[in-house]
Amino acid sequence: MATWTIDEPQKLTFDTVRRLRLRLVAGSVGVVGTDEQPTLEVSELDGSALLVRHQDGELEVDYERPRWQGPLGWLTGWRRRYRAVVSLAVPRDCEVDLGVVSSGLMVSGLRAPLVARTINGEITLSGCSGQVEAQTVSGAVQAHGVAGDLWAHTVSGDLTLVEGGGSIGARTVSGTVTLDVRAPGAGDIRVTTISGDVTIRLPHASDLQVQAQSTSGQVASAFDELHRDGLPALQRIRGRLGAGTGRLRATTTTGHVALLRREPEAEPEEAR
């Protein structure tokens, strides 16, 4: 096993990386999938040194566990700083698992499964076609062109997905959920919020079985095919769009729900 202790900005290269596991605290983390040589770049480092381990295609980046310094030893590390700006280039088929406290996370161009967890950092995803799981407490999740299945969970962070492709599971307590879906019909879209507003834009022609409801918020839809249930206690819109092969279910307690329809002319010019 190759091990490095990094205490100053530095660049490392590796021969093969099939899996990446990263655990950091503050700063920022960027992971891009490329066809070039796997690279780890530490461009800023504040406080504790990073520990990098590489064995059998598995790359691990984290902090060294403090040595046992007696029962009250943890107090000595109380004011220690853990801040690092780390960027990695990995093969597109590399499985990635990121866990941080307040770092921003950016991942792009991966085909393999990805897990990204942070407490109050922001998660940015671009062009990921594997399965994606993104979790934050107060940070936002923003994704562009995620073709694979996406499962995202926040507490107060906003969730925005542009050009989503596969199945989408979005759950948040008070954050808003904004989805711009490209080609629904293949997968399920499930959105649940407590107080956050839900805004979903669908293509002009979709194949979805739709149910959208809000207990005390307003439910609005641009689709005439969907009918409104006359329920005194909640607002609900249901119905089928096109062939109804996929499913869309949006549920919120006090938030508003809006189902928007993309204008047909917004499609690429070449398609005309």
Binding site: H144, T160, D180, G230
Partner: protein, 209 residues
């Protein structure tokens, strides 16, 4: 679209690509993807508004050629490009040499795209809610009527069309059933009520004929 992002690099890239030769929107998208090493593929939804914006600023012009829009850089566009060439060169070398900068660029692009879209959809959602609020308000009055109707036994109440009533009945019953844990006997009884209702409605309609 936020003013901050209009000063982003994407704008300069667009100008640069159009400076090389006049292009269709689609070519621009494809070439941009190459530039970001296939990591960021801007969508028509991001590119066309930007091109339109550049056009509004007088930096590009567009014309219809064979049913497609072709964009061309103007002198003002060339001037802008020349003025910020250093910035562009600097950024390009950095992107190629450092993962950190590449990641940073992609992050900025995604952030900008997301922010724009969020703004746009928020606006649209507000609009559609405003339109349908009126409709809902009248519905709410109607809920009141419906509740009054619920105990209705006489012939005189202004009854809504049966179809509409049926829908409401269905929805309300669904909700009741959803919460309840039914016993065998209850299930049979409910089924009987439904059958009976159907039979009676059929009789009523038959009588009319």
């Amino acid at each position: 679209m936020s003013p901050v992002f209009s000063h982003g690099m994407l704008r300069l890239y667009l100008l640069k690509l159009l400076d090389e030769s006049p292009r269709h929107g689609y070519d621009v998208i494809r070439l941009l993807e190459d530039r970001f090493m296939g990591l960021y593929a801007p969508s028509p939804g991001t590119i066309y508004p930007r091109l339109q914006r550049l056009e509004a600023e007088g930096l590009v012009t567009q014309s219809q050629e064979g049913g497609r829009k072709v964009y061309r850089i103007t002198d003002a566009g060339r001037e802008e490009l020349r003025r910020r060439q250093d910035e562009l060169d600097h950024l390009e070398t950095e992107i190629r040499s450092s993962v950190h900068h590449l990641a940073g660029e992609i992050r900025e692009e995604v952030r900008g795209t997301v922010r724009d879209l969020k703004q746009e959809l928020k606006q649209a959602a507000r609009e559609i809610r405003r339109q349908q609020r009126h409709e809902n308000r009248s519905r709410r009055d109607w809920y009141g009527d419906w509740h009054a109707d619920w105990d209705w036994r006489g012939e005189d109440a202004a009854a809504p069309r049966p179809e509409r009533r049926l829908r409401d009945l269905l929805a309300a019953t669904h909700q009741l059933l959803h919460r309840a844990h039914l016993t065998e006997a209850q299930i049979r009884e409910c089924a009987a009520i439904l059958d009976e209702s159907f039979q009676r409605i059929r009789e009523v309609l038959r009588d009319k004929r």
